[in-house]
Amino acid sequence: MSAPSENSPSAVRPPSSGADPSAFPGLTSAPGSNIRAVNDPFHGDLLEVSMGPHHPSTHGVFRMMVTLDGEVVVKLKPVFGYLHRNHEKLGENTTYLASMPYTDRLDYLCSMTNNWAYALAVEKLAGQPVPERAEYIRLILAELTRLLNHVCLAGFLLQDCGASGTPLMYAFREREKILDLFESLSGSRMMCNYQRFGGCRIDPSAEWLDRVRALVAGFPRFLDEFERLITGNEIMMARTPGVGCLSPKLAISAGITGPMLRAAGVDYDLRKVDGYGIYPRYKFRVPLGAHGDTYDRYMIRVLEMRESLGLLEQVMKDIPGGPIMDPKAKLRGLRPKAGEAYGRIEGPKGEIGFFLISDGSPNPYRYRVRPPSFVNLTVLEDLCLGHTIADAVIILGSIDIVLGEVDR
Protein backbone atom coordinates (compact mmCIF):
# COMPACT_ATOMS: atom_id res chain seq x y z
CA MET A 1 0.00 0.00 0.00
CA SER A 2 1.57 3.27 -0.99
CA ALA A 3 0.67 5.14 2.18
CA PRO A 4 1.46 8.83 1.58
CA SER A 5 4.88 9.20 3.20
CA GLU A 6 4.81 12.73 4.52
CA ASN A 7 1.56 14.63 5.13
CA SER A 8 2.87 18.13 4.74
CA PRO A 9 0.31 20.61 5.99
CA SER A 10 -0.01 22.00 2.48
CA ALA A 11 -2.43 20.27 0.12
CA VAL A 12 -1.26 16.68 -0.17
CA ARG A 13 -0.49 15.27 -3.65
CA PRO A 14 -1.30 11.56 -3.88
CA PRO A 15 2.00 10.03 -5.03
CA SER A 16 0.34 7.04 -6.67
CA SER A 17 -1.84 8.83 -9.18
CA GLY A 18 0.69 11.43 -10.21
CA ALA A 19 -2.12 13.50 -11.67
CA ASP A 20 -3.42 16.62 -10.02
CA PRO A 21 -7.14 15.84 -9.51
CA SER A 22 -8.11 19.46 -10.13
CA ALA A 23 -6.50 19.35 -13.58
CA PHE A 24 -9.35 17.33 -15.04
CA PRO A 25 -11.22 19.05 -17.86
CA GLY A 26 -14.41 19.00 -15.80
CA LEU A 27 -16.58 16.03 -15.02
CA THR A 28 -18.33 15.30 -18.32
CA SER A 29 -21.13 12.79 -18.06
CA ALA A 30 -21.94 10.61 -21.04
CA PRO A 31 -25.61 11.06 -21.89
CA GLY A 32 -27.97 8.55 -20.38
CA SER A 33 -25.56 7.02 -17.85
CA ASN A 34 -25.18 8.09 -14.26
CA ILE A 35 -21.56 6.90 -14.14
CA ARG A 36 -19.71 10.10 -14.74
CA ALA A 37 -16.63 8.94 -16.61
CA VAL A 38 -14.03 11.65 -16.33
CA ASN A 39 -12.34 12.01 -19.70
CA ASP A 40 -8.86 12.47 -18.41
CA PRO A 41 -6.25 11.94 -21.09
CA PHE A 42 -3.51 10.35 -19.08
CA HIS A 43 -5.36 8.72 -16.25
CA GLY A 44 -8.15 6.48 -17.48
CA ASP A 45 -11.71 6.84 -16.19
CA LEU A 46 -12.14 8.22 -12.69
CA LEU A 47 -15.34 7.22 -10.93
CA GLU A 48 -17.03 9.76 -8.74
CA VAL A 49 -19.00 7.99 -6.02
CA SER A 50 -21.14 9.74 -3.40
CA MET A 51 -20.92 7.80 -0.12
CA GLY A 52 -23.73 9.10 2.03
CA PRO A 53 -25.70 10.85 3.40
CA HIS A 54 -27.49 7.65 4.24
CA HIS A 55 -24.69 5.12 3.87
CA PRO A 56 -24.35 2.18 6.26
CA SER A 57 -20.92 3.14 7.51
CA THR A 58 -20.84 6.91 7.89
CA HIS A 59 -21.86 7.02 11.54
CA GLY A 60 -24.84 9.24 10.90
CA VAL A 61 -25.81 11.68 8.15
CA PHE A 62 -22.40 12.42 6.64
CA ARG A 63 -21.50 12.36 2.99
CA MET A 64 -18.16 11.79 1.27
CA MET A 65 -17.89 12.76 -2.39
CA VAL A 66 -15.14 10.32 -3.31
CA THR A 67 -13.39 10.37 -6.68
CA LEU A 68 -11.95 6.91 -7.28
CA ASP A 69 -9.24 5.76 -9.66
CA GLY A 70 -10.27 2.10 -9.65
CA GLU A 71 -10.39 1.51 -5.89
CA VAL A 72 -7.87 4.16 -4.86
CA VAL A 73 -9.22 7.43 -3.47
CA VAL A 74 -7.98 10.36 -5.57
CA LYS A 75 -10.16 13.11 -4.15
CA LEU A 76 -12.46 13.13 -1.11
CA LYS A 77 -14.79 16.01 -0.29
CA PRO A 78 -16.62 15.61 3.04
CA VAL A 79 -20.12 17.14 3.00
CA PHE A 80 -21.94 17.59 6.30
CA GLY A 81 -24.54 19.87 7.84
CA TYR A 82 -27.44 17.51 7.45
CA LEU A 83 -27.91 17.42 11.22
CA HIS A 84 -27.48 21.18 11.83
CA ARG A 85 -30.00 22.24 14.53
CA ASN A 86 -28.85 25.80 15.10
CA HIS A 87 -27.60 24.82 18.55
CA GLU A 88 -25.49 27.94 19.17
CA LYS A 89 -28.14 30.48 18.10
CA LEU A 90 -30.62 28.64 20.33
CA GLY A 91 -28.15 28.98 23.18
CA GLU A 92 -28.23 32.76 22.78
CA ASN A 93 -32.02 32.94 23.08
CA THR A 94 -32.48 30.82 26.20
CA THR A 95 -31.23 31.08 29.76
CA TYR A 96 -28.04 29.37 30.89
CA LEU A 97 -30.00 26.59 32.62
CA ALA A 98 -32.22 25.93 29.59
CA SER A 99 -29.14 25.21 27.38
CA MET A 100 -28.03 22.41 29.68
CA PRO A 101 -30.45 19.75 28.30
CA TYR A 102 -29.44 20.73 24.77
CA THR A 103 -25.78 19.91 25.52
CA ASP A 104 -26.88 16.23 25.92
CA ARG A 105 -27.77 16.30 22.24
CA LEU A 106 -24.36 17.53 21.06
CA ASP A 107 -22.37 14.30 21.25
CA TYR A 108 -25.28 12.03 22.05
CA LEU A 109 -22.93 9.20 23.09
CA CYS A 110 -21.28 11.13 25.94
CA SER A 111 -23.91 13.42 27.46
CA MET A 112 -22.27 13.48 30.91
CA THR A 113 -19.01 14.98 29.62
CA ASN A 114 -20.88 17.55 27.53
CA ASN A 115 -22.82 18.61 30.63
CA TRP A 116 -19.64 18.85 32.68
CA ALA A 117 -17.87 20.99 30.07
CA TYR A 118 -20.83 23.40 29.89
CA ALA A 119 -21.20 23.52 33.68
CA LEU A 120 -17.44 24.18 33.98
CA ALA A 121 -17.68 27.07 31.51
CA VAL A 122 -20.63 28.69 33.33
CA GLU A 123 -18.98 28.17 36.73
CA LYS A 124 -15.86 29.90 35.42
CA LEU A 125 -18.04 32.70 34.03
CA ALA A 126 -20.06 33.18 37.24
CA GLY A 127 -17.23 32.33 39.66
CA GLN A 128 -19.30 29.54 41.16
CA PRO A 129 -17.43 27.14 43.56
CA VAL A 130 -18.25 23.43 43.41
CA PRO A 131 -18.40 21.21 46.52
CA GLU A 132 -15.93 18.31 46.92
CA ARG A 133 -18.43 15.48 46.53
CA ALA A 134 -19.75 16.92 43.26
CA GLU A 135 -16.21 16.99 41.83
CA TYR A 136 -15.80 13.29 42.66
CA ILE A 137 -19.14 12.37 41.10
CA ARG A 138 -18.33 14.37 37.98
CA LEU A 139 -15.00 12.56 37.57
CA ILE A 140 -16.65 9.15 38.03
CA LEU A 141 -19.32 9.95 35.44
CA ALA A 142 -16.75 11.35 32.98
CA GLU A 143 -14.58 8.23 33.21
CA LEU A 144 -17.66 5.99 32.83
CA THR A 145 -18.55 7.99 29.69
CA ARG A 146 -15.02 7.52 28.38
CA LEU A 147 -15.39 3.74 28.82
CA LEU A 148 -18.76 3.90 27.08
CA ASN A 149 -17.44 5.90 24.13
CA HIS A 150 -14.28 3.88 23.54
CA VAL A 151 -16.23 0.59 23.75
CA CYS A 152 -18.65 1.96 21.15
CA LEU A 153 -15.79 3.04 18.90
CA ALA A 154 -14.10 -0.38 19.02
CA GLY A 155 -17.42 -2.01 18.17
CA PHE A 156 -18.13 0.33 15.25
CA LEU A 157 -14.56 0.08 13.89
CA LEU A 158 -14.87 -3.71 13.74
CA GLN A 159 -18.29 -3.38 12.13
CA ASP A 160 -16.75 -1.22 9.41
CA CYS A 161 -13.99 -3.79 8.97
CA GLY A 162 -16.68 -6.31 8.21
CA ALA A 163 -17.10 -8.40 11.35
CA SER A 164 -20.85 -8.86 11.05
CA GLY A 165 -22.00 -7.30 14.29
CA THR A 166 -20.43 -9.68 16.83
CA PRO A 167 -17.86 -7.32 18.39
CA LEU A 168 -20.42 -4.50 18.19
CA MET A 169 -22.93 -6.56 20.19
CA TYR A 170 -20.33 -7.38 22.86
CA ALA A 171 -19.45 -3.67 23.06
CA PHE A 172 -23.11 -2.72 23.34
CA ARG A 173 -23.68 -5.36 26.02
CA GLU A 174 -21.11 -3.56 28.21
CA ARG A 175 -22.39 -0.14 27.18
CA GLU A 176 -25.90 -1.07 28.35
CA LYS A 177 -24.59 -1.77 31.86
CA ILE A 178 -23.15 1.76 32.03
CA LEU A 179 -26.32 3.28 30.57
CA ASP A 180 -28.39 1.48 33.20
CA LEU A 181 -26.22 3.18 35.84
CA PHE A 182 -26.86 6.58 34.24
CA GLU A 183 -30.57 5.85 34.05
CA SER A 184 -30.90 4.92 37.70
CA LEU A 185 -28.94 8.08 38.60
CA SER A 186 -30.21 10.81 36.29
CA GLY A 187 -33.47 9.35 35.00
CA SER A 188 -32.56 8.95 31.33
CA ARG A 189 -30.01 6.64 29.64
CA MET A 190 -28.51 9.04 27.12
CA MET A 191 -30.10 12.46 27.79
CA CYS A 192 -28.97 12.73 31.39
CA ASN A 193 -29.16 16.56 31.95
CA TYR A 194 -27.51 15.82 35.27
CA GLN A 195 -24.95 18.55 36.03
CA ARG A 196 -25.96 21.99 37.32
CA PHE A 197 -23.89 25.17 37.80
CA GLY A 198 -22.27 24.56 41.15
CA GLY A 199 -22.72 20.78 41.47
CA CYS A 200 -24.94 17.91 40.47
CA ARG A 201 -28.70 17.51 40.50
CA ILE A 202 -29.17 14.22 42.40
CA ASP A 203 -27.00 12.70 45.12
CA PRO A 204 -26.04 9.13 44.12
CA SER A 205 -27.07 6.57 46.75
CA ALA A 206 -24.54 4.18 48.33
CA GLU A 207 -26.24 1.30 46.51
CA TRP A 208 -25.59 3.08 43.21
CA LEU A 209 -21.89 3.52 44.09
CA ASP A 210 -21.65 -0.20 44.86
CA ARG A 211 -23.08 -0.99 41.43
CA VAL A 212 -20.39 1.23 39.89
CA ARG A 213 -17.71 -0.65 41.86
CA ALA A 214 -19.13 -3.96 40.60
CA LEU A 215 -19.10 -2.70 37.01
CA VAL A 216 -15.53 -1.43 37.28
CA ALA A 217 -14.45 -4.77 38.76
CA GLY A 218 -16.10 -6.75 35.91
CA PHE A 219 -14.91 -4.56 33.04
CA PRO A 220 -11.28 -5.76 32.63
CA ARG A 221 -12.51 -9.33 32.07
CA PHE A 222 -14.64 -8.08 29.18
CA LEU A 223 -11.75 -6.03 27.79
CA ASP A 224 -9.44 -9.06 27.75
CA GLU A 225 -12.08 -11.11 25.92
CA PHE A 226 -12.63 -8.27 23.43
CA GLU A 227 -8.90 -7.93 22.77
CA ARG A 228 -8.57 -11.69 22.33
CA LEU A 229 -11.31 -11.47 19.69
CA ILE A 230 -9.70 -8.58 17.83
CA THR A 231 -6.16 -7.43 18.56
CA GLY A 232 -4.22 -10.56 17.58
CA ASN A 233 -6.51 -11.24 14.60
CA GLU A 234 -4.44 -11.58 11.42
CA ILE A 235 -7.10 -9.91 9.27
CA MET A 236 -7.19 -6.91 11.61
CA MET A 237 -3.40 -6.86 11.68
CA ALA A 238 -3.53 -6.73 7.87
CA ARG A 239 -6.37 -4.23 7.56
CA THR A 240 -5.56 -1.46 10.02
CA PRO A 241 -1.78 -0.90 10.47
CA GLY A 242 -0.35 1.63 8.06
CA VAL A 243 -3.81 2.86 7.07
CA GLY A 244 -4.52 6.57 7.46
CA CYS A 245 -1.21 7.59 9.00
CA LEU A 246 -1.44 10.97 10.73
CA SER A 247 1.91 12.72 11.20
CA PRO A 248 2.36 14.64 14.49
CA LYS A 249 3.13 17.84 12.56
CA LEU A 250 -0.15 17.69 10.60
CA ALA A 251 -2.06 16.67 13.77
CA ILE A 252 -0.84 19.71 15.69
CA SER A 253 -1.35 22.17 12.84
CA ALA A 254 -4.86 20.84 12.20
CA GLY A 255 -5.83 21.24 15.86
CA ILE A 256 -6.54 17.54 16.40
CA THR A 257 -7.17 16.63 20.03
CA GLY A 258 -7.97 13.53 22.00
CA PRO A 259 -6.97 9.90 21.35
CA MET A 260 -6.33 10.68 17.69
CA LEU A 261 -3.62 13.17 18.64
CA ARG A 262 -2.09 10.86 21.23
CA ALA A 263 -2.10 8.04 18.65
CA ALA A 264 0.12 10.28 16.50
CA GLY A 265 2.58 10.43 19.41
CA VAL A 266 1.86 13.94 20.73
CA ASP A 267 1.65 13.99 24.55
CA TYR A 268 -1.35 16.29 25.15
CA ASP A 269 -4.11 15.25 27.54
CA LEU A 270 -6.21 18.03 29.07
CA ARG A 271 -6.61 16.06 32.28
CA LYS A 272 -2.86 16.47 32.77
CA VAL A 273 -2.46 19.85 31.05
CA ASP A 274 -5.36 21.73 32.67
CA GLY A 275 -5.60 19.60 35.81
CA TYR A 276 -9.30 20.52 36.17
CA GLY A 277 -11.54 18.82 38.70
CA ILE A 278 -9.66 16.42 40.99
CA TYR A 279 -7.57 14.73 38.28
CA PRO A 280 -4.22 16.00 39.65
CA ARG A 281 -4.83 14.13 42.93
CA TYR A 282 -4.86 10.72 41.28
CA LYS A 283 -2.19 8.83 39.36
CA PHE A 284 -3.03 7.64 35.84
CA ARG A 285 -0.91 7.26 32.70
CA VAL A 286 -1.50 8.64 29.19
CA PRO A 287 -0.75 6.07 26.43
CA LEU A 288 0.98 7.41 23.30
CA GLY A 289 1.08 5.84 19.85
CA ALA A 290 4.06 5.72 17.49
CA HIS A 291 2.62 5.52 13.95
CA GLY A 292 -0.64 7.44 14.17
CA ASP A 293 -2.44 4.89 11.96
CA THR A 294 -5.84 3.28 12.45
CA TYR A 295 -4.42 0.41 14.50
CA ASP A 296 -2.75 2.86 16.89
CA ARG A 297 -5.97 4.85 17.25
CA TYR A 298 -7.80 1.64 18.14
CA MET A 299 -5.12 0.46 20.60
CA ILE A 300 -4.80 3.88 22.25
CA ARG A 301 -8.51 3.80 23.05
CA VAL A 302 -8.28 0.29 24.47
CA LEU A 303 -5.33 1.34 26.68
CA GLU A 304 -7.19 4.49 27.72
CA MET A 305 -10.07 2.31 28.84
CA ARG A 306 -7.69 0.40 31.08
CA GLU A 307 -6.33 3.67 32.51
CA SER A 308 -9.84 4.93 33.19
CA LEU A 309 -10.62 1.71 35.04
CA GLY A 310 -7.52 2.18 37.24
CA LEU A 311 -8.49 5.81 37.87
CA LEU A 312 -12.07 4.82 38.78
CA GLU A 313 -10.82 2.21 41.24
CA GLN A 314 -8.66 4.81 43.03
CA VAL A 315 -11.44 7.45 43.09
CA MET A 316 -14.17 5.09 44.29
CA LYS A 317 -12.23 4.34 47.45
CA ASP A 318 -12.43 7.83 48.97
CA ILE A 319 -15.62 9.62 47.95
CA PRO A 320 -16.38 12.28 50.60
CA GLY A 321 -19.84 12.99 52.00
CA GLY A 322 -21.34 16.43 52.15
CA PRO A 323 -23.63 18.40 49.83
CA ILE A 324 -23.49 17.82 46.11
CA MET A 325 -24.81 21.30 45.26
CA ASP A 326 -23.22 24.55 46.43
CA PRO A 327 -25.86 26.03 48.83
CA LYS A 328 -25.47 29.55 47.44
CA ALA A 329 -25.83 28.33 43.84
CA LYS A 330 -28.85 29.97 42.16
CA LEU A 331 -30.78 27.54 39.96
CA ARG A 332 -32.96 30.08 38.18
CA GLY A 333 -32.32 33.67 37.30
CA LEU A 334 -28.55 33.17 36.97
CA ARG A 335 -27.21 36.50 35.76
CA PRO A 336 -23.42 36.24 35.62
CA LYS A 337 -21.65 39.60 35.44
CA ALA A 338 -20.48 40.76 32.00
CA GLY A 339 -17.35 38.96 30.78
CA GLU A 340 -16.30 35.84 28.87
CA ALA A 341 -15.07 32.39 29.83
CA TYR A 342 -13.87 29.25 28.03
CA GLY A 343 -14.39 25.98 29.90
CA ARG A 344 -12.89 22.84 28.35
CA ILE A 345 -12.47 19.22 29.40
CA GLU A 346 -10.85 16.11 27.91
CA GLY A 347 -13.92 14.44 26.44
CA PRO A 348 -13.67 10.88 25.08
CA LYS A 349 -13.35 12.26 21.54
CA GLY A 350 -11.02 15.13 22.36
CA GLU A 351 -11.12 18.63 23.82
CA ILE A 352 -14.75 19.70 24.14
CA GLY A 353 -15.00 23.36 25.16
CA PHE A 354 -17.72 25.97 25.67
CA PHE A 355 -16.96 29.68 25.08
CA LEU A 356 -19.48 32.03 26.68
CA ILE A 357 -19.73 35.81 26.55
CA SER A 358 -22.13 37.24 29.14
CA ASP A 359 -23.59 40.76 29.08
CA GLY A 360 -25.24 40.49 32.52
CA SER A 361 -28.60 39.35 31.13
CA PRO A 362 -29.97 35.85 31.87
CA ASN A 363 -29.19 34.87 28.25
CA PRO A 364 -25.56 34.48 27.10
CA TYR A 365 -24.51 37.07 24.51
CA ARG A 366 -22.45 34.45 22.60
CA TYR A 367 -22.56 30.66 23.13
CA ARG A 368 -19.89 28.79 21.18
CA VAL A 369 -19.15 25.04 21.29
CA ARG A 370 -15.69 23.71 20.35
CA PRO A 371 -16.61 20.16 19.16
CA PRO A 372 -13.68 17.68 19.00
CA SER A 373 -15.06 15.42 16.24
CA PHE A 374 -15.68 18.38 13.91
CA VAL A 375 -12.06 19.50 14.22
CA ASN A 376 -10.73 15.95 13.95
CA LEU A 377 -12.78 15.47 10.77
CA THR A 378 -10.91 18.20 8.88
CA VAL A 379 -7.95 15.89 8.17
CA LEU A 380 -10.16 13.11 6.70
CA GLU A 381 -9.05 13.83 3.13
CA ASP A 382 -5.36 13.98 4.02
CA LEU A 383 -5.62 10.58 5.71
CA CYS A 384 -7.62 8.90 2.95
CA LEU A 385 -5.65 9.97 -0.15
CA GLY A 386 -3.84 7.06 -1.72
CA HIS A 387 -5.87 4.46 0.17
CA THR A 388 -8.69 2.30 -1.19
CA ILE A 389 -12.37 2.95 -0.56
CA ALA A 390 -12.43 0.14 2.02
CA ASP A 391 -9.71 1.98 3.96
CA ALA A 392 -11.54 5.30 3.73
CA VAL A 393 -14.42 3.68 5.59
CA ILE A 394 -12.29 2.44 8.48
CA ILE A 395 -10.30 5.69 8.63
CA LEU A 396 -13.59 7.54 9.09
CA GLY A 397 -14.51 4.96 11.72
CA SER A 398 -11.23 5.42 13.58
CA ILE A 399 -11.63 9.21 13.73
CA ASP A 400 -14.77 8.54 15.80
CA ILE A 401 -17.17 11.28 14.80
CA VAL A 402 -20.71 11.85 16.00
CA LEU A 403 -22.73 13.99 13.62
CA GLY A 404 -24.71 15.65 16.42
CA GLU A 405 -21.46 17.31 17.49
CA VAL A 406 -20.06 17.91 14.01
CA ASP A 407 -23.12 19.75 12.71
CA ARG A 408 -24.37 21.25 16.04
Binding site: E176, L185, D203, N233, R332
Partner: protein, 232 residues
Protein backbone atom coordinates in the same frame (compact mmCIF):
# COMPACT_ATOMS: atom_id res chain seq x y z
CA UNK B 1 1.87 -19.50 13.90
CA UNK B 2 -0.18 -17.87 11.11
CA UNK B 3 -3.88 -18.04 11.89
CA UNK B 4 -3.56 -18.38 15.67
CA UNK B 5 -5.20 -14.94 16.10
CA UNK B 6 -8.15 -16.09 14.00
CA UNK B 7 -8.49 -19.26 16.06
CA UNK B 8 -8.47 -17.21 19.26
CA UNK B 9 -11.28 -15.09 17.85
CA UNK B 10 -13.25 -18.19 16.88
CA UNK B 11 -12.74 -19.57 20.41
CA UNK B 12 -14.23 -16.39 21.90
CA UNK B 13 -17.32 -16.58 19.71
CA UNK B 14 -17.73 -20.29 20.49
CA UNK B 15 -17.50 -19.52 24.22
CA UNK B 16 -20.24 -16.90 23.78
CA UNK B 17 -22.39 -19.24 21.73
CA UNK B 18 -22.20 -21.97 24.38
CA UNK B 19 -22.35 -19.42 27.22
CA UNK B 20 -25.59 -17.92 25.92
CA UNK B 21 -27.39 -21.16 26.85
CA UNK B 22 -26.37 -21.38 30.48
CA UNK B 23 -24.63 -18.16 31.59
CA UNK B 24 -27.17 -15.33 32.13
CA UNK B 25 -24.38 -12.77 31.67
CA UNK B 26 -24.08 -13.92 28.06
CA UNK B 27 -27.80 -13.75 27.25
CA UNK B 28 -28.89 -10.20 27.85
CA UNK B 29 -32.09 -9.96 25.82
CA UNK B 30 -35.35 -9.31 27.68
CA UNK B 31 -38.27 -10.37 25.46
CA UNK B 32 -40.15 -7.12 25.98
CA UNK B 33 -43.88 -7.50 25.60
CA UNK B 34 -43.96 -10.72 27.64
CA UNK B 35 -41.25 -9.86 30.18
CA UNK B 36 -41.24 -6.25 31.38
CA UNK B 37 -38.02 -5.21 33.11
CA UNK B 38 -38.40 -3.27 36.38
CA UNK B 39 -37.63 0.39 35.67
CA UNK B 40 -35.30 2.24 38.04
CA UNK B 41 -37.21 4.55 40.36
CA UNK B 42 -35.74 7.74 38.92
CA UNK B 43 -36.74 6.91 35.31
CA UNK B 44 -38.56 9.87 33.77
CA UNK B 45 -40.79 10.39 30.78
CA UNK B 46 -43.36 13.11 30.15
CA UNK B 47 -44.51 15.28 33.13
CA UNK B 48 -47.89 15.06 34.90
CA UNK B 49 -49.76 17.33 37.33
CA UNK B 50 -50.17 16.10 40.91
CA UNK B 51 -53.66 16.34 42.51
CA UNK B 52 -54.21 15.75 46.21
CA UNK B 53 -57.35 13.61 46.03
CA UNK B 54 -58.27 11.24 43.31
CA UNK B 55 -62.05 11.79 43.50
CA UNK B 56 -62.22 15.39 42.36
CA UNK B 57 -58.92 15.81 40.43
CA UNK B 58 -59.60 19.32 39.16
CA UNK B 59 -60.53 20.46 42.64
CA UNK B 60 -57.23 19.61 44.33
CA UNK B 61 -54.56 20.51 41.77
CA UNK B 62 -51.42 21.62 43.58
CA UNK B 63 -50.53 23.91 40.70
CA UNK B 64 -51.14 27.59 41.41
CA UNK B 65 -50.46 28.76 37.85
CA UNK B 66 -47.35 30.72 38.82
CA UNK B 67 -46.01 30.06 35.26
CA UNK B 68 -42.39 29.60 36.41
CA UNK B 69 -42.22 26.27 34.57
CA UNK B 70 -43.63 27.90 31.45
CA UNK B 71 -40.79 30.47 31.47
CA UNK B 72 -38.02 28.01 32.34
CA UNK B 73 -39.03 25.21 29.92
CA UNK B 74 -36.22 25.04 27.30
CA UNK B 75 -38.42 24.11 24.29
CA UNK B 76 -41.32 26.27 25.61
CA UNK B 77 -43.84 23.44 25.38
CA UNK B 78 -46.04 24.36 28.42
CA UNK B 79 -49.05 26.72 28.03
CA UNK B 80 -50.84 28.03 31.11
CA UNK B 81 -53.84 30.38 31.47
CA UNK B 82 -54.55 31.63 34.99
CA UNK B 83 -58.06 31.26 36.41
CA UNK B 84 -60.11 34.37 37.20
CA UNK B 85 -61.43 33.23 40.61
CA UNK B 86 -59.57 31.66 43.52
CA UNK B 87 -59.98 28.35 45.26
CA UNK B 88 -58.75 27.43 48.72
CA UNK B 89 -55.83 25.04 48.36
CA UNK B 90 -54.68 22.30 50.70
CA UNK B 91 -53.68 24.74 53.48
CA UNK B 92 -57.05 26.49 53.14
CA UNK B 93 -55.55 29.63 51.59
CA UNK B 94 -57.36 30.88 48.45
CA UNK B 95 -55.02 30.34 45.49
CA UNK B 96 -55.28 30.75 41.79
CA UNK B 97 -55.48 27.58 39.72
CA UNK B 98 -54.71 27.00 36.04
CA UNK B 99 -57.83 27.29 33.85
CA UNK B 100 -55.80 25.86 30.94
CA UNK B 101 -52.61 23.81 31.44
CA UNK B 102 -51.42 22.15 28.22
CA UNK B 103 -48.15 20.36 27.44
CA UNK B 104 -47.31 19.59 23.83
CA UNK B 105 -45.66 16.17 24.25
CA UNK B 106 -44.40 16.26 20.66
CA UNK B 107 -42.17 19.19 21.67
CA UNK B 108 -41.39 18.19 25.28
CA UNK B 109 -37.98 16.42 25.59
CA UNK B 110 -38.68 15.26 29.19
CA UNK B 111 -35.65 17.13 30.57
CA UNK B 112 -37.46 17.59 33.96
CA UNK B 113 -36.36 21.25 34.40
CA UNK B 114 -40.03 22.12 35.07
CA UNK B 115 -40.04 19.68 37.99
CA UNK B 116 -36.86 21.23 39.37
CA UNK B 117 -38.00 24.83 39.26
CA UNK B 118 -41.60 24.25 40.51
CA UNK B 119 -41.80 25.66 44.06
CA UNK B 120 -45.10 23.88 44.80
CA UNK B 121 -44.12 20.29 43.76
CA UNK B 122 -47.14 20.49 41.49
CA UNK B 123 -45.55 18.84 38.43
CA UNK B 124 -43.65 15.53 38.47
CA UNK B 125 -42.13 13.23 35.81
CA UNK B 126 -44.20 10.23 34.86
CA UNK B 127 -42.85 6.72 34.14
CA UNK B 128 -45.44 5.80 31.51
CA UNK B 129 -43.64 5.19 28.19
CA UNK B 130 -46.13 3.15 26.21
CA UNK B 131 -48.04 6.18 24.92
CA UNK B 132 -47.90 5.72 21.17
CA UNK B 133 -50.96 7.14 19.36
CA UNK B 134 -52.00 7.16 15.72
CA UNK B 135 -53.09 10.81 15.83
CA UNK B 136 -50.17 13.15 15.15
CA UNK B 137 -51.49 16.43 16.52
CA UNK B 138 -54.37 16.70 18.96
CA UNK B 139 -53.57 13.46 20.83
CA UNK B 140 -50.07 14.77 21.60
CA UNK B 141 -51.32 18.05 23.11
CA UNK B 142 -52.27 16.88 26.63
CA UNK B 143 -54.66 19.21 28.44
CA UNK B 144 -55.18 19.67 32.18
CA UNK B 145 -57.53 16.76 32.59
CA UNK B 146 -55.24 14.29 30.85
CA UNK B 147 -52.18 15.53 32.75
CA UNK B 148 -53.68 15.37 36.24
CA UNK B 149 -52.82 12.22 38.25
CA UNK B 150 -53.46 11.60 41.95
CA UNK B 151 -50.76 11.76 44.62
CA UNK B 152 -51.33 8.03 45.29
CA UNK B 153 -50.08 7.32 41.76
CA UNK B 154 -47.03 9.44 42.52
CA UNK B 155 -46.41 7.34 45.63
CA UNK B 156 -46.77 4.22 43.54
CA UNK B 157 -44.18 5.14 40.90
CA UNK B 158 -41.72 6.97 43.12
CA UNK B 159 -42.09 5.84 46.72
CA UNK B 160 -39.02 7.57 48.27
CA UNK B 161 -39.40 10.84 46.41
CA UNK B 162 -43.15 11.02 47.09
CA UNK B 163 -42.60 10.34 50.79
CA UNK B 164 -40.13 13.23 51.01
CA UNK B 165 -42.43 15.62 49.15
CA UNK B 166 -45.37 14.69 51.36
CA UNK B 167 -43.25 15.01 54.49
CA UNK B 168 -42.22 18.49 53.42
CA UNK B 169 -45.75 19.55 52.50
CA UNK B 170 -47.27 18.32 55.77
CA UNK B 171 -44.48 20.08 57.71
CA UNK B 172 -45.30 23.24 55.76
CA UNK B 173 -49.01 22.88 56.41
CA UNK B 174 -48.36 22.28 60.13
CA UNK B 175 -46.19 25.42 60.25
CA UNK B 176 -48.94 27.39 58.49
CA UNK B 177 -51.56 26.10 60.98
CA UNK B 178 -49.40 26.90 64.03
CA UNK B 179 -48.84 30.39 62.67
CA UNK B 180 -52.58 30.74 62.06
CA UNK B 181 -53.33 29.40 65.59
CA UNK B 182 -50.72 31.71 67.11
CA UNK B 183 -52.18 34.62 65.16
CA UNK B 184 -55.69 33.64 66.30
CA UNK B 185 -54.46 33.42 69.95
CA UNK B 186 -52.78 36.83 69.64
CA UNK B 187 -56.04 38.08 68.08
CA UNK B 188 -58.08 36.69 71.00
CA UNK B 189 -55.66 38.31 73.55
CA UNK B 190 -56.00 41.66 71.92
CA UNK B 191 -59.74 41.13 71.34
CA UNK B 192 -60.63 44.35 73.23
CA UNK B 193 -58.32 46.47 71.17
CA UNK B 194 -60.14 48.10 68.30
CA UNK B 195 -60.32 45.69 65.46
CA UNK B 196 -57.50 46.61 63.04
CA UNK B 197 -58.72 47.33 59.53
CA UNK B 198 -58.71 43.94 57.86
CA UNK B 199 -55.89 44.34 55.41
CA UNK B 200 -56.67 43.20 51.98
CA UNK B 201 -55.69 39.64 51.57
CA UNK B 202 -52.67 39.90 49.34
CA UNK B 203 -52.51 37.25 46.79
CA UNK B 204 -49.90 34.72 47.66
CA UNK B 205 -47.26 35.80 45.30
CA UNK B 206 -44.30 33.57 45.93
CA UNK B 207 -41.51 36.04 45.98
CA UNK B 208 -38.06 34.99 44.95
CA UNK B 209 -38.35 31.51 46.28
CA UNK B 210 -35.39 29.80 47.71
CA UNK B 211 -34.50 27.05 45.27
CA UNK B 212 -36.29 23.86 46.08
CA UNK B 213 -33.22 21.81 46.53
CA UNK B 214 -33.49 18.44 44.85
CA UNK B 215 -36.05 16.31 46.45
CA UNK B 216 -34.18 13.59 48.25
CA UNK B 217 -31.76 16.00 49.87
CA UNK B 218 -33.03 17.81 52.93
CA UNK B 219 -34.47 20.69 50.99
CA UNK B 220 -34.89 24.13 52.44
CA UNK B 221 -38.62 24.69 52.72
CA UNK B 222 -39.75 27.25 50.21
CA UNK B 223 -40.32 30.27 52.41
CA UNK B 224 -43.80 31.15 51.18
CA UNK B 225 -44.73 34.15 53.23
CA UNK B 226 -48.14 33.37 54.68
CA UNK B 227 -49.59 36.73 55.44
CA UNK B 228 -51.42 37.47 58.63
CA UNK B 229 -55.00 36.33 58.25
CA UNK B 230 -57.87 37.20 60.50
CA UNK B 231 -59.41 34.01 61.82
CA UNK B 232 -62.58 33.36 59.81
Amino acid sequence: MLGSGLLQGLAVTAKNLVGSFHDPARYTTVEYPEVKEQLPESFRNFPFLVTDNATDPMGALRCVACQICEKECPPQCIYIEKSKDKKPDATGKPQLYPAVFAIDTSVCMSCQICVEVCPFDAIKMDQEFEIATTDRFSALLLNREQLAKPNTYFHQIRPTEAAEVDGRLTAERKAAEEKAKAAAAAKAAAAAAPKPAASAVPTATPAATAPTAPKPAAAATPAVPTPEKPAP
